[in-house]
Structures are given as structure tokens and as C-alpha cells.
């Protein structure tokens, strides 16, 4: 069984993810790295109401948990931990961000918080948008240089030192996209308010 | 009643280093009853209005503020506080 403190952390963040509409009932995932091991949500569990047995601990390089995990998920998380300095991964199905990802190769926030914290979010695309080594490596490669990436049509992968951090980037991205969507609806000329804003696109 | 100790620039803002809080107005409180951190911080701000907006943001502990209860970090306002507990509030700080 996983350390009580760790379980509480997963449970709180998972609940916030669900209540903020960042995931559906069974979607999304969270994981953390402990040395050479991972703790991740098991397949079929609901992040909104996590129970202690919903968290599985396994080796970084292979599954020794004795539990059939969501292997489509684990491969991505594994690739991320092996290739980046991440200690936590937050995967969400951000509705507005996904919608934007359908028509562009990168998201560049126009709101203050988004541009301040994120600057630019690359969109990667993969034919089978779940579970192949190619997709896992592409996401991991991109996360070597960005703290959050969109997988076109699917959702976001964010990394951080803690689940809090990774959740923070995810939440900020969705907020940024919702603001941009609202701006599009308002449909008036954009007044640039940020200094040196042209730098964000090439971040 | 719990004691609240203030550090660094919180002392300048509050004009004091230590505050003994009295219960929030309108609440019945027996000596043995526990409170929670949120109630204590509300009582603090009521007594020291200069601290309004300094410790709390959007109903949460403001980022970078550290609140320790008897030397243990509290990360939310639901944490219980006993009558003899010492609450220490630190503003943003760093060192090496």
C-alpha cells in the first residue's frame, strides 16, 4: 500500500481535476516518480474519487506491481520519467485546449497568466493517439523543453516537481484557452498589452 | 487561546511580533474546544486589520506564506488548532 500522505495528494488533486472539468469520469491520469519507481492510477479507477487501492506502485523500467495497469498510459509516463527531469505527470483532457489543438501546431496564450507562466505550448500529433512507443517518445521529447504539451485531439501532458505543479500548468492552460475562446467570440481587435510579446511565439 | 507569532516583514506590517487571538466575535467557545487554522487566522485579521490580504488569498493560504503549527507545516485552513498551540506565520523568505 502506498504511503498515506502520497495517497492524500493524489486524491485531492484528482478530485480537483474532475470537479474543474479537466477530465471525464474515468479519463486523465496522475503519476509521481519515487527514485526508480512510479506511483500511478490503475486502469479503470476514477480520479474524482480515488481509493487507496487505486494507486499502484511499480518499477520505472517494467511493471512489477502484479497489477494490470493502463498500459497505454504507463508507457507515456515511463518515457517521460526516463527522458526528462519530471518527478510528477498530470494528464488531462482539457476541453478547450483540445479544441484549439485541432487547428494549430502550437498554442500561444494571450492572457496574462498563461503567457507569463507557459509562454507557448507545442501540439504533437500521432496517428494512434494512444499507447504507442512512438507517441510516448514524441511526448517525452517535447517535454524535455516544455512543461506542458498537447497531444492533438486527445489532451495535455504536464510535468513538474510535484503533482501540484503539473496540475497548476494544466489548469493554467485550460484557463488560457477558455479566455482565448471568449476573446474570439467577442471578436474585437486585440490590443497588445505585454512587453516584448513577439518573443512568446519563439519560446 | 492559541498564540500567533509573526516573523520578518509581517512584524512591520502588524506592528507586533506576537498576537494572542480572541475568538471570532459571535462564536461560543469553551476553553477545551479546538479551533481550526482558518478560524484562528480570521481572528488574527480581525484583531490586526493591517494583515488583511497579506496571509489569505481566495480563501487559501497565500502562495509563499508558510504557516507552522507547533513547528509543523499546515497546508490548508482545515487543520485543527488546540488552545495551547503556537501558530507561526512566515512571509516569503529564502536563504542558503
Amino acid at each position: 500500500m502506498v504511503d498515506e500522505r502520497i495517497y492524500k495528494m493524489f486524491r485531492e488533486i484528482g478530485r480537483d481535476m474532475f470537479l474543474s472539468d479537466m477530465i471525464s469520469s474515468h479519463g486523465g491520469n496522475l503519476s509521481i516518480r519515487l527514485g526508480d519507481r512510479i506511483i500511478i492510477k490503475r486502469r479503470g479507477a476514477m480520479l474524482g474519487i480515488l481509493k487507496p487501492h487505486d494507486l499502484v506502485e511499480t518499477r520505472l523500467d517494467k511493471n512489477d506491481s502484479g497489477v494490470v495497469l493502463a498500459s497505454t498510459e504507463l508507457i507515456v509516463h515511463r518515457a517521460i520519467y526516463l527522458n526528462t527531469p519530471a518527478l510528477a505527470v498530470c494528464h488531462c483532457h482539457l476541453r478547450t485546449a483540445v479544441a484549439f489543438s485541432l487547428s494549430r501546431d502550437e498554442l500561444v496564450p494571450i492572457d496574462n497568466e498563461g503567457s507569463y507562466l507557459l509562454k507557448k505550448i507545442p501540439v504533437v500529433t500521432e496517428e494512434f493517439a494512444s499507447g504507442t512507443p512512438q507517441m510516448a517518445n514524441k511526448i517525452a521529447e517535447t517535454l524535455k523543453n516544455y512543461k506542458i504539451v498537447m497531444l492533438r485531439g486527445h489532451g495535455s501532458f504536464a510535468i513538474g516537481q510535484t503533482l501540484d505543479e503539473a496540475f497548476h500548468w494544466s489548469s493554467t492552460l485550460e484557463e488560457a484557452c477558455q479566455i482565448e475562446l471568449a476573446a474570439k467570440l467577442i471578436n474585437e481587435p486585440f490590443i497588445e498589452y505585454r512587453g516584448m510579446a513577439e518573443g512568446y511565439k519563439s519560446f | 487561546m492559541p498564540t500567533i507569532k509573526l516573523y520578518a516583514n509581517l512584524r512591520n506590517i502588524a506592528g507586533t511580533t506576537e498576537v494572542s487571538i480572541t475568538p471570532p466575535s459571535g462564536m461560543l467557545r469553551s476553553v477545551s474546544r479546538e479551533s481550526n487554522l482558518g478560524a484562528c487566522v480570521s481572528a488574527l485579521i480581525e484583531q490586526v486589520p493591517a494583515l488583511d490580504g497579506v496571509i489569505v488569498e481566495d480563501g487559501q493560504i497565500k502562495p509563499y506564506i508558510v504557516i507552522n503549527i507547533n513547528g509543523h507545516a499546515a497546508t490548508n485552513f482545515d487543520v485543527p488548532v488546540g488552545k495551547d498551540d503556537v501558530i507561526a506565520i512566515f512571509p516569503p523568505m529564502a536563504g542558503g
Binding site: I6, P85, N145 | N9, M93, G95
Partner: protein, 594 residues
């Protein structure tokens, strides 16, 4: 490639000659500069057969591709050598102005070899290198010498040793710009063993930047971030690092009286608040730094830079002393003598405990503020009781039959965070490549301050991941070379992009962290080659067995073994802490013949 000057200055003190040659850019790509470059060069130059005080040991001064560019805090530099205190690889890091000037004189690296037959000082004015006789300077204290050699922050910068280094105290520091220090592990001792009194630099050539537009944007963003972070824009300039005294005391992790306790009843009297209220003149900063954490303090007897948190603790709580003016004066004396304050204070504390327990007859007692100044003078001169203390607490405690009373790891005195109150810090001290050091990956952020987020300081499972990450990132920052306080407002992703913009070589964030991991592993290999084993990845018995009796950390000892096991595995090392071949290959260290 820009950023680097692509020039090494190689000085032979024995022959009093020098040569210059290009920097190996393949090595520079992999190790960047500063600590990384130093580690790589020391690996080749100084093997296990060399005693740290032999002429065959070297001093490698390095700056980095960012040094002197004007990016925030791009003033720092490193010295790498084999430590006379610990026998491990040593790099020490300093701020101020000298590193920037050395870069502007046109060099990336200066290797100092051999030993001068008589005291010398070296003058560098761009390409002009002059050896001067230092016989009449030998014996001079740092402040007077710095002034005499013409220190001017903006023009001519002096780096030197004081009497402590001359007398080969193994905790001697190299001082620069009067009161900045390359302090830990005895670099000043090595410099003294070479009869090298000072190195003075002049230079004006700014390093070239590849993509100026992008650099400007990143500078702008970094400025915004530093201004927005309350840590870098308010806390550090207003209170300096001593502000940590009260919070460390509050959580019962402030080592007191040679780590016999973890809380000090006099903490408030020696706190950052007390310093600011009573002795602070103003704050100050190093070159190109918007933060301004330096203190300028004044008592009846001294005025100058400091004290920092570690120094205040070392002469304060660690010695049971709550007399802040005496502590400020002790700090100033260390700067003038060229002594590491942490090791000096902790060694005095060790002597205090040895004496109070009757193992040693020195008269030193906890709480005796009046004993600080004369003891420090005696240590630098190696006179009377100073002769016993001059070489650090481990040699002192061993001489008197109680090595376990030295609060050190691998012989380097542990600083101001009691690991029994911070499990991650315990792992950090036990595994740091230069010994008990907090600057190798300070866990005070996550375990005490909630930066970036609060992690339970008593949690053991998973702690090693944070320590590893912090160690890797610190090593990378030490190679750029910039100040770690920048990292409190600006994330590594900016550093990677700044490095790319300056040099024209693409580094992504992960690669930058990997440079840190590479450096860490090379340092580890160096120590293994020197004969260190996993048995040395440990802490004093007091940390492992004797819990504080009361307070928030009561009952806690460092649970080192489970953390160490997880740490080794997470780093890709075997159960003896030896990097596996797969890891060495991944980090491209295989080619170095390791």
C-alpha cells in the same frame, strides 16, 4: 560558438611561465563551464597519487558562457581542486566581480600548476600576464591586501588568500573583491601551498552573444519573474539569508551546541529580524544582480559584508552564542583572515563540546562570545589552541579520541540545517560529492519553505527523487555560472534558452539538467577513484542514532538507509553507489576513459 572566449590560461608557478590555448569545445558542450568544466579537467590532471598539498595538485578557475553577458547574476565563477580537508573533488563558487572580470580579460579557464619557490602574485591584464614578487605581501590580511593591490569593483579585481591560507589551515578560503569567498573545503590551503598570494585581473572585453534579440527577450522575462517573486524581490533584499534563523528554529531543525540540540533559545537574538533592526546599514549586490541579498552590517568594531545565515548560525547557535555583534565581528575576522565561516564555527563548537566533556583542555565553552575572535586569530596563525582547530573538526575530534563528535560528512562540516528535522537534507549531506554541503541541492525550499511546494520533511519514501533533481539542477547552474537565487524566481527552462541564445548551441531544459547529472556522476567517479566507497555516504552517529528529546522534531533520526537505497537505484547506480555502465553511456562519460 559564442559565449565562451575559447581560451585557457595555463600557469606554471614553478617555472613562472604561462601559455594559452583554445578550450576543447567538445568538452565545453558537454560540461558547459564553471563546476562542470572544472570537474572534467581535474579528472585528467589530478589522480589519486597526488596529495592535495603537493605541487602536482592544481587550482582550476573557471567561468561559464553566461558569465559577463549581463544576464541576471552572471558574475559567478568556480575554483576546482582536490580538497585538503576532505580528499574529495572540490569545487567552490563565489560571486562579486572577479569572475566577470576574468571573463572580460578574455579567458574561460585558468589552470594554476606547480609551486612558486617564493611568494608570488599574478597580474592579468588581458593578454599581459605578470608574475610579481609577493614576499612583502606575505602575512598581510585580506582587507589590507585587497586595497593595496588596487581593488576597484568596476575596473580591477583582487582575489587572494589571507594568513589562514598561508599557514595551510585546511579550512582556508580564497577571498575575492574583499569579502566574497570561495570558502568550503580548503581551496585557500591549496593556494597557500603554492606560495600564491593573489591574482589580480583587469579586462573590458564583453563576451559575444549569438542571438541578441532572443537574449534580450529572455533577460526581460527573467527580470519580470524576479520582480514578481516575493522571495527575490522582497525577502532577500530586505532581510538577506539570515531571515531563515527563526523558521529553522521554529521547526526544530537549527543545530545547536554542536548538534546536541535542534532548537536554540537565543535564535531570536541572532535572527535576520534582529540584524535588520540593529546592525544593518544597507543591502548590496554582486555585478548584474537585481536581487541584492548582500548585507552590509556595522558594529562598534567592524563594518562590512555579511553575515549570511550559515555564518551567523556557525558562530551563533552552533556555539551556543546569542551575541549578534560578536558574531558579526567573527564573520568579519574570517573574511580578513581568509577562513571558511561554516567550518570555523563548527570546529570551534566541536572543541567546545570536547572541552566541556573533558576530552580536551582548551578552556573553550559554549556561549562564550568573547572566545570567538581570539580563537579565530589563533586558528589562522596555528598558534596555541588554534593549531588543533586549524584543520577542521574531524582532525580535531580524531586527535582527541572522539571523531564522532565532528559534525561533518566526508570531513566537511555540515551547515545550518539539522537533518533530523529534514530527511532530504540528511540524504543530501551524505551524498554530496564535496562532503556535508547544502549548496549541492538545498532541500530547504521544498522541505521548509514550500518552494515550489511543501513536501513533508519527515517523509522518506520518494525523497531521493527530489534530492537527485536538486543536485542535478544545482550542478547545471554552477556550470553556467549564475547564482542559485535566480532559480528562486526563474525556472531552468529559461536558463536553457538563455544558454542557447548566447552560445548558438541548442540546449533544451532536459539537456541542461542532464549536464548537471553528468557533472554529478563524474564527481562521483572521481571520488570513487580516490578510494571513497558507499561507507562514506553517511552522517555522524548523532544524526543517525540520537533523536532530539523535545520539540517538533522530537524522536526523529535520519533514516538514511532506505533513502540511500532508493537514491542509488534512482540514479542508475549499483547497490554500492557505483554508476552502472548504462548510466555512463547515457551521459556520454564512457568516452572519458572512466
Amino acid at each position: 560558438m559564442n559565449g565562451w572566449n575559447n581560451k585557457v590560461l595555463d600557469i606554471d608557478l614553478t617555472a613562472q611561465t604561462y601559455e594559452t590555448y583554445p578550450l576543447d569545445m567538445e568538452i565545453a558542450r558537454l560540461f558547459i563551464g564553471g563546476r562542470g568544466l572544472g570537474a572534467c579537467l581535474l579528472w585528467d590532471l589530478v589522480g589519486p597519487e597526488v596529495d592535495p598539498l603537493d605541487p602536482e595538485n592544481v587550482l582550476i578557475f573557471t567561468n561559464g558562457p553566461l558569465t559577463g553577458t549581463g544576464y541576471q547574476t552572471s558574475n559567478r565563477f568556480s575554483v576546482t581542486t582536490k580538497s585538503p580537508l576532505t580528499g574529495t573533488i572540490l569545487d567552490a563558487n563565489s560571486g562579486g566581480f572577479w569572475g566577470m572580470r576574468f571573463k572580460k580579460a578574455g579567458y574561460d579557464v585558468m589552470i594554476v600548476r606547480g609551486k612558486a619557490s617564493k611568494p608570488v602574485w599574478v597580474e592579468i591584464k588581458n593578454e599581459e600576464i605578470t608574475f610579481h614578487d609577493a614576499s612583502d605581501l606575505w602575512g598581510m590580511r585580506v582587507f589590507a591586501l585587497t586595497e593595496k593591490l588596487g581593488q576597484n569593483n568596476n575596473k580591477r579585481n583582487v582575489l587572494c588568500i589571507g594568513p589562514a591560507g598561508e599557514n595551510l589551515s585546511r579550512i582556508a578560503a580564497i577571498m575575492n573583491d574583499r569579502e566574497r569567498a570561495l570558502a568550503r573545503g580548503g581551496p585557500g590551503t591549496v593556494m597557500g601551498s603554492k606560495n600564491l598570494k593573489a591574482i589580480v585581473v583587469e579586462g573590458k572585453t564583453r563576451p559575444k552573444i549569438e542571438d541578441k534579440g532572443r537574449f534580450k527577450f529572455l533577460l526581460y522575462e527573467s527580470r519580470k519573474l524576479l520582480a514578481a517573486s516575493p522571495v527575490t524581490s522582497q525577502a532577500l533584499p530586505e532581510f538577506g539569508t539570515v531571515v531563515l534563523m527563526n523558521i529553522m528554529n521554529n521547526i526544530c531543525a537549527l543545530p545547536t551546541r554542536n548538534h546536541q540540540q535542534s532548537q536554540f533559545e537565543g535564535a531570536e537574538a541572532i535572527s535576520g529580524e534582529a540584524l535588520t533592526d540593529n546592525y544593518l546599514v544597507k543591502n548590496d549586490s554582486c555585478w548584474a544582480c537585481p536581487i541584492g541579498c548582500t548585507r552590509i552590517s556595522k558594529t562598534d568594531k567592524v563594518k562590512g559584508e555579511g553575515p549570511e545565515f550559515e555564518s551567523t548560525w556557525a558562530f551563533g547557535a552552533q556555539c551556543g552564542i546569542d551575541d549578534l555583534p560578536a558574531i558579526i565581528e567573527a564573520n568579519s575576522i574570517c573574511n580578513d583572515l581568509g577562513l571558511d565561516t561554516i567550518s570555523a564555527g563548527s570546529t570551534i563548537a566541536c572543541a567546545m563540546e570536547l572541552s566541556e566533556k573533558g576530552y580536551m583542555n582548551s578552556g573553550l565553552r559554549f556561549g562564550r562570545a568573547d572566545q570567538l575572535a581570539p580563537t579565530l586569530e589563533a586558528m589562522a596563525a596555528r598558534e596555541n589552541v588554534g593549531a588543533d582547530l586549524a584543520d577542521g573538526s574531524f582532525r580535531l575530534a580524531s586527535k582527541y579520541g572522539h571523531p564522532e563528535l565532528s559534525m561533518s560528512a566526508k570531513g566537511l562540516e555540515m551547515p545550518a540545517y539539522d537533518p533530523r528535522g529534514m530527511q532530504g537534507q540528511g540524504l543530501l549531506y551524505a551524498t554530496s560529492n564535496r562532503g556535508g554541503c547544502h549548496m549541492r541541492g538545498n532541500m530547504v525550499g521544498p522541505e521548509v519553505l514550500g518552494l515550489p511546494k511543501m513536501i513533508d520533511r519527515f517523509q522518506v519514501q520518494g525523497k531521493s527523487s527530489f534530492v537527485t533533481l536538486h543536485q542535478n539542477v544545482s550542478a547545471a547552474i554552477d556550470s553556467l555560472v549564475i547564482c542559485k537565487f535566480t532559480n528562486m524566481g526563474v525556472a531552468e527552462e529559461y536558463f536553457a534558452r538563455v544558454l542557447s541564445a548566447v552560445t548558438g548551441i541548442h540546449y533544451d531544459t532536459g539537456e541542461l539538467t542532464q549536464v548537471g547529472e553528468r557533472i554529478w556522476n563524474l564527481e562521483r567517479l572521481y571520488n570513487l577513484r580516490e578510494g571513497f566507497t558507499k561507507e562514506d555516504d553517511t552522517l555522524p552517529p548523532r544524526m543517525l542514532n540520537d533523536a532530539p528529546a523535545e520539540g517538533p522534531s522530537a524522536g526523529r533520526v535520519v533514516k538514511l538507509n532506505p533513502m540511500l537505497k532508493e537514491y542509488y537505484r534512482g540514479r542508475g547506480w549499483d547497490e554500492n553507489g557505483v554508476p552502472l555502465q548504462a548510466k555512463l553511456k547515457e551521459l556520454k562519460l564512457v568516452n572519458l576513459g572512466v
